[in-house]
């Protein structure tokens, strides 16, 4: 099987599995439309989950045989299946009126595609998905305001060997025997700043709702009115007493602490 300019070399039984995964991905993608019935999307999602579990079993065998090429190829397939699962999950969530769930599923799908590309050359076959998912972001959702926090961290540990990251030779974002190298924070000393950024590491970290001039707070995805809670009412009284200027006050934001399920290796 060709993937870009590289001939993919895998053991025969793994090639058979890859053909099944490829077929499932292709079939699943044929349901990646708002207009397709939810039941087909759910069936395809179930199929992705089943193959994902099979992937895990095969990976254990590849690791036991010390077959890094196979283990990394299976890692890539796992990410491809996760991307496809979340892409369909986005459509299902939109149909269920769960805009935030849909947004989060899309972002996880984007991250999974990038991980699939980094894991093994086999990932190249879904390279086009990366752009497709970015286009969906622009077309299906209103522009978002992203928030990112900067932290001071004591040190990092490598998740492959548990040694101090930077000393062991493992590189974050690279696969090693079917596992993506990540870094584990050891001690967040302080939060240095919170900032609005154009391109955050995690696009799930964003302003979720904001208050307009008429004091109505609206959800940034759905435009639905968001009811004020007690803490916000207290803050509003305080702001009014201090005569703070009115305007687009973005009172709420989810603060970014990178979540491991998005994109291992960042």
């Amino acid at each position: 099987m060709r993937s870009g300019s590289h001939e993919i070399t895998l053991p025969q039984d793994l090639m058979h599995f890859w053909e099944r995964v490829f077929k499932a991905l292709h079939e699943g993608r044929s349901h990646s439309y708002m207009s397709h019935a939810k039941e087909f999307q759910e069936q395809a999602s179930d199929r992705f989950q089943e193959l994902g579990l099979e992937c895990g079993d095969l990976m254990e065998k590849a690791v036991a045989k010390n077959d890094e090429n196979s283990a990394n190829a299976l890692l890539s397939m796992k990410f491809m299946l996760n991307a496809a699962f979340n892409e369909l999950g986005m459509w299902i969530a939109l149909k269920d009126g769960e805009a935030e769930g849909a947004w989060n599923a899309l972002i996880v799908a984007q991250g999974s595609v990038r991980c699939a590309l980094r894991s093994h050359a086999i990932g190249k076959c879904i390279e086009g998905q990366a752009n497709h998912l970015l286009r969906l972001e622009d077309v299906l959702f209103p522009p978002q305001v992203f928030v990112s926090s900067g932290h001071v961290v004591e040190s990092y540990e490598c998740t492959i060997c548990d040694k101090e990251y930077g000393t062991c030779g493992h590189v974050v974002g690279r696969p090693y025997m079917g596992e993506m190298c990540c870094r584990r924070r050891k001690g967040i000393k302080s939060v240095d700043h919170v900032a609005f950024v154009e391109d955050p590491l995690d696009k799930r970290c964003r302003i979720t709702d904001f208050e307009q001039d008429d004091k109505v707070r609206r959800d940034k995805l759905t435009w639905n009115e968001v009811k004020e809670d007690e803490a916000d009412a207290e803050q509003r009284s305080k702001d009014d007493a201090e005569q703070k200027p009115k305007g687009d006050n973005m009172r709420r934001a989810s603060v970014c602490l990178l979540r491991p399920d998005l994109e291992p290796g960042l």
């Binding site: 980094r118 961290v153 974002g173 870094r183």
Partner: protein, 172 residues
């Protein structure tokens, strides 16, 4: 929309050896990672590395490139972590020993970084990379700083600029 072409700013920089000594650090003269606030910190305890510094070090370990650390033995500088997709790298010092003993390490170091970043940005359009390089000026105790901003593809231009600086064809 096409990405903006890379830019490499060039300006004078402080004497790295003197500054390191002032801060109670190992005076660097080989390949070294400089902390973000190396020029402005009031004490060694204030020094902060970019959170990408250990990745750079990991790449060097993998490639068999030796680093002379600023940090005294047993000391570790904490890291400042930004959670943006823009890759903000640390300042890389190519000290005088590099030019005397092993000048090819410059192109190898930059090439290793460029390859890593090409991989890092797979699936993401408009890659943005920012980092700096410091080199000693020839026949002088002065230093120059190159501030790179652009995509991974443009990193290879830095080697040429360093050569021009060392041959006195370019000055900060």
């Amino acid at each position: 929309m096409a990405a903006a072409p890379p830019t490499i700013g060039l300006k004078p920089y402080l004497n790295v050896v003197d500054r390191a000594t002032e801060l109670g650090c190992n005076p660097p003269n080989g390949l070294t990672v400089l902390p973000r606030n190396f020029h402005s910190a009031t004490s060694r305890e204030d020094l902060l590395h970019e959170d990408t510094a250990p990745t750079l070090r990991a790449l060097w370990v993998e490639a068999g490139i030796a680093e002379t650390r600023l940090e005294p033995e047993g000391t570790r500088f904490p890291y400042i972590e930004e959670n943006s997709f823009e890759w903000v790298g640390p300042t890389i010092l190519f000290g005088s020993a590099v030019f005397i003993q092993n000048p090819h390490v410059i192109s190898v170091t930059l090439s290793v970084l460029a390859n890593y970043l090409t991989d890092y940005f797979k699936g993401r359009p408009n890659p943005k990379v920012k980092f700096s390089v410091v080199v000693p000026l020839p026949k002088s105790k002065k230093y120059a700083k190159l501030d790179y901003e652009g995509d991974p593809e443009g990193i290879k231009e830095i080697s040429k600029l360093i050569k021009d600086i060392r041959n006195e064809k370019r000055k900060p």
